[in-house]
């Protein structure tokens, strides 16, 4: 209303072009933020269901380390955190315009990400061999290092929630690796410069988010 007050003084109405510039980020970055919010809700539905089922049926969920190979996954978790560091390094390199280092760190991130998925697949194969399956019919683990034919530990809700949560996280890492490969190809073609490297920043946001989700999942699925 200030413009009208002053306009009366000046005998003229001043065109009121109040300007709100939106958020001071580019569209793709804003879009990724918004998209990641929906991802939060997606993992919330899976993790929330896990929490509710675990509280309702504690007998289905054995003590940590009885069925799952915690040291292997702890190593894998360390791996994934390293990939976040390499992603930051890649971003820092392109910000300075260092193409060589940028591509190298990006390649490193891809390799570590792929290795994470590979180790997870290896972990799944070990678990299935120990009769720890996702379905109620395929659930009969006796615990690590126990004699075959011993009493079954936990219940089928354990297998169902474990594979759903870690599986969807693994799918997110895989999609992230594919996107990073796409970014690397674009980088080879010289798309990113010190002045414009928006794609790197956006995929970086996604990558760190997936990493963060894993830290939550590792804690609640493997450690407690």
């Amino acid at each position: 209303m200030t413009s009208h007050a002053t306009s009366a003084e000046q005998n003229m109405m001043v065109p009121d072009l109040t300007f709100e510039p939106g958020m001071k980020v580019f569209n793709m970055k804003l879009g990724m933020w918004v998209f990641l919010l929906s991802e939060v809700m997606f993992f919330t539905s899976l993790i929330g269901s896990y929490v509710i089922l675990r509280f309702a049926h504690p007998d289905h969920f054995p003590e940590p380390g009885v069925v799952l190979n915690v040291p292997l996954t702890a190593f894998n978790t360390f791996f994934l955190i390293c990939s976040s560091v390499t992603m930051v390094k890649a971003f820092a390199a392109i910000q300075k315009g260092d193409q060589q280092k940028f591509k190298l760190w990006l390649l490193g991130t891809i390799l570590i990400g792929a290795a994470f998925v590979g180790i997870q697949a290896y972990e799944y194969s070990l678990l299935v061999a120990e009769h720890f399956g996702p379905s109620a019919a395929g659930y009969a683990p006796v615990g690590r290092g126990m004699e075959e034919g011993g009493p079954i530990v936990g219940g089928p809700l354990y297998g169902a929630t474990f594979y759903t949560m870690t599986g969807f996280h693994g799918a997110h890492v895989s999609i992230g690796v594919l996107c990073l490969i796409f970014v690397l190809i674009q980088a080879m073609r010289g798309k990113y410069t010190a002045a414009d490297h928006r794609g790197v920043e956006v995929i970086g946001l996604y990558w760190h988010f997936v990493d963060l989700v894993w830290i939550v999942l590792f804690t609640i699925v493997y450690l407690i």
Partner: protein, 601 residues
């Protein structure tokens, strides 16, 4: 900023927006990145699904109105597993009820409100050249196509389409042994998971566009109400759809690989599904009504030639409805087994929603008060929206009260309520929107004569169908029942059921008037002038019906005032468009009254 954003994203559309370029047929009509063409694609596809949903409703009404009798005319077309000799089987009836609701909610009303108007109106009303992510927008439509095909295909697989109701309550939906449907249920789940991606990409696009691409001067509180409501709806979609997707995925695993999330046989929790479903489901209810409220606000203000009463209150009411929508899901589950204390808190939070809803209704009435009301077809539909929404809102209060909900839950009272808000509310809002913006979409006016016939047939037949359902519900007629005559106490209600069914057939037939008028007017209607409704918002100042690619060829428009400056003393005419710069006015020439201050400042 808008121009900056446009150039920043320019690579996504392939070329600068302002250039005139010819695109191939496929790029223009099929894989178009133009938001206006995508809106039309959504419009045609969802009107088709509206028709399919209507036919399914007709079959349901045939069974209830004339139980056990062969369907006339088309009865012989049905297979032996659905309706042998035209007599509907109980299993097929379950599928009909389920698929009617599924098609209407997910494939007709949702895209008609969000897909169509989100795409068509948002960039035009905020003065943007296109969406923030035009190619993602194309994907949003084309992701929804396979979802629709899968859902339709489920009728033709072994066991028929899903029959566990649109809510798909577990364990009925979790184990093929319980409902007798396996493949149909799987397709239902997969289709909705895919459709979720379509909604999600749409929501990301709408939110980014509205935040970042508003024209200079288009402040938050100068945004037209349809854009406001679509903005808030997009947030609901963004946050609610992934919750449903998570639930659908777990249910899909229950059906296919035999996990036991929701199956009590393996200690799963059927109630968990209900919580997940309604945690999505109640925001979903507002996804289905808020955009219609926005459209109706625009039409009422325009056709009453008055500024919308309480613009800020309208916006805050939309936002508070959206917030409250997250804390009321339990009112769908009063009878599912719940701590009464929790039930009471859900009851209170639900009844609080009546406050912003009533604010909106009174603001519409306040807008009409002493207005210069033009009873055009869009206005008739908008007024019907307000009237029907009041009835639907009042019946909602019955269900919100936990004690009253005990006798009426899962009866036809619920069916009456949902149709008063979803048909009487959303669909009348959609009709108001289509008849209002048709000239901008297709360059021709819809026939006012056919429009009025369609309106009066619809409003009478609609009330004849759904108002008596309150009565059925209070007499304890179950919501989902194949043959009510199998209960002695429901036998006296057969006459009422038959009456409802006949009215329903008239209602469905009446929609053919709209379909005819829609396509006839598209090619032979009266040519529309630039601004046929003398509206203030930016879409009517964009040249062309519809505007070419880039929307505003003369450059990004500038916005100087709020969207509802009708009958403003600053203008000699009874409207003052947002993009017209204020003329120099001599001091004292204009008597300023507080009531006529621009809404946006």
């Amino acid at each position: 900023m808008a121009t900056h954003a446009a150039t920043a994203e320019g690579h996504a559309t392939g070329a600068g927006h302002d250039e005139h370029h010819k695109l191939s047929f496929i790029r223009t009509y099929i894989f178009s990145t133009d938001h206006k063409m995508i809106a039309k694609q959504f419009l045609l596809a969802s009107l088709l699904f509206l028709l399919i949903g209507g036919i399914l409703a007709g079959l349901v009404r045939w069974q209830l109105g004339f139980p056990g009798q062969p369907i006339p005319f088309i009865g012989s077309m049905f297979s032996d597993t659905t309706a042998p000799g035209g007599i509907i089987l109980p299993e097929f009836y379950n599928s009909l009820v389920t698929m009617h609701a599924t098609f209407m909610i997910f494939f007709a009303i949702m895209p008609l409100l969000v897909g169509v108007w989100g795409n068509f109106l948002i960039p035009l009303q905020i003065g943007a050249p296109d969406m923030a992510f035009p190619r993602l927008n194309t994907a949003s439509f084309w992701i929804s196509v396979p979802a629709g095909i899968l859902m339709l295909a489920s009728f033709f697989v072994e066991g028929g389409a899903a029959g566990a109701g649109w809510t798909s309550y577990a364990p009925l939906s979790a184990n093929p042994e319980y409902s007798g449907v396996h493949m149909g249920q799987v397709l239902w789940l997969v289709s909705l998971i895919i459709l979720g991606f379509s909604s999600l990409t749409g929501a990301v696009n709408y939110i980014t566009t509205i935040i970042n691409m508003r024209a200079p001067g288009m402040t938050w509180f100068r945004m037209p109400l349809p854009t406001w409501s679509l903005f808030v709806t997009s947030w609901l979609l963004l946050l609610a759809i992934p919750i449903l997707t998570g639930g659908l995925i777990m249910l899909l695993f229950d059906q296919t690989i035999g996990t036991g999330f929701f199956n009590p046989a393996t200690d799963g929790e059927p109630l968990l599904w209900q919580h997940i479903f309604w945690y999505f489901g109640h925001p979903e209810v507002y996804i289905l009504i808020l955009p219609a409220m926005g459209l109706v606000s625009e039409v009422i203000s325009n056709r009453a030639r008055k500024p919308i009463f309480g613009y800020h209150a309208m916006v805050l009411a939309i936002i508070s409805i959206a917030f409250l929508g997250w804390v009321v899901w339990g009112h769908h589950m009063f009878q599912s087994g719940m701590n009464p204390l929790l039930g009471t808190s859900f009851m209170i939070s639900t009844i609080i929603i009546a406050v912003p809803s009533a604010i909106k209704v009174f603001n519409w009435l306040g807008t009409l008060w002493k207005g210069d009301i033009h009873f055009d077809v869009p206005m008739l539909h908008a007024l019907a929206f307000v009237a029907m929404f009041i009835i639907g809102g009042l019946s909602g209060i019955f269900m919100a009260s936990a004690p009253v909900d005990i006798p009426i839950h899962d009866t036809y009272f619920i069916v009456a309520h949902i149709h008063y808000v979803l048909f009487g509310g959303s669909l009348f809002g959609i009709f108001a929107g289509i008849t209002f913006w048709f000239p901008k979409m297709f360059g021709r006016m819809m026939s006012p004569k056919l429009g009025k016939i369609h309106f009066w047939v619809t409003i009478f037949a609609y009330n004849a169908v759904f108002f008596p359902m309150h009565n059925l519900g209070l007499r304890n007629h179950m919501r989902r029942i194949y043959d009510p005559n199998s209960y002695e106490y429901l036998q006296p209600l057969q006459g009422l059921n038959t009456f409802i069914s006949i009215a329903a057939f008239i209602l469905i037939a009446g929609q053919m008037i709209f379909a005819f008028s829609f396509f006839y007017s598209m090619f032979f209607g009266e040519k529309a002038e630039q601004n046929p409704w003398k509206s203030n918002t930016l879409e009517w100042t964009a040249a062309g019906h519809p505007p070419g690619h880039g929307n505003f060829p003369g450059g990004t428009p500038h916005v100087y005032r709020g969207p509802y400056e009708y009958s403003s003393p600053e203008s000699n005419e009874d409207f003052l468009p947002q993009g017209v710069p204020p003329e120099p006015v001599r001091r004292g020439a204009v008597p300023r009254e507080p009531g006529f201050l621009p809404t946006g400042d």
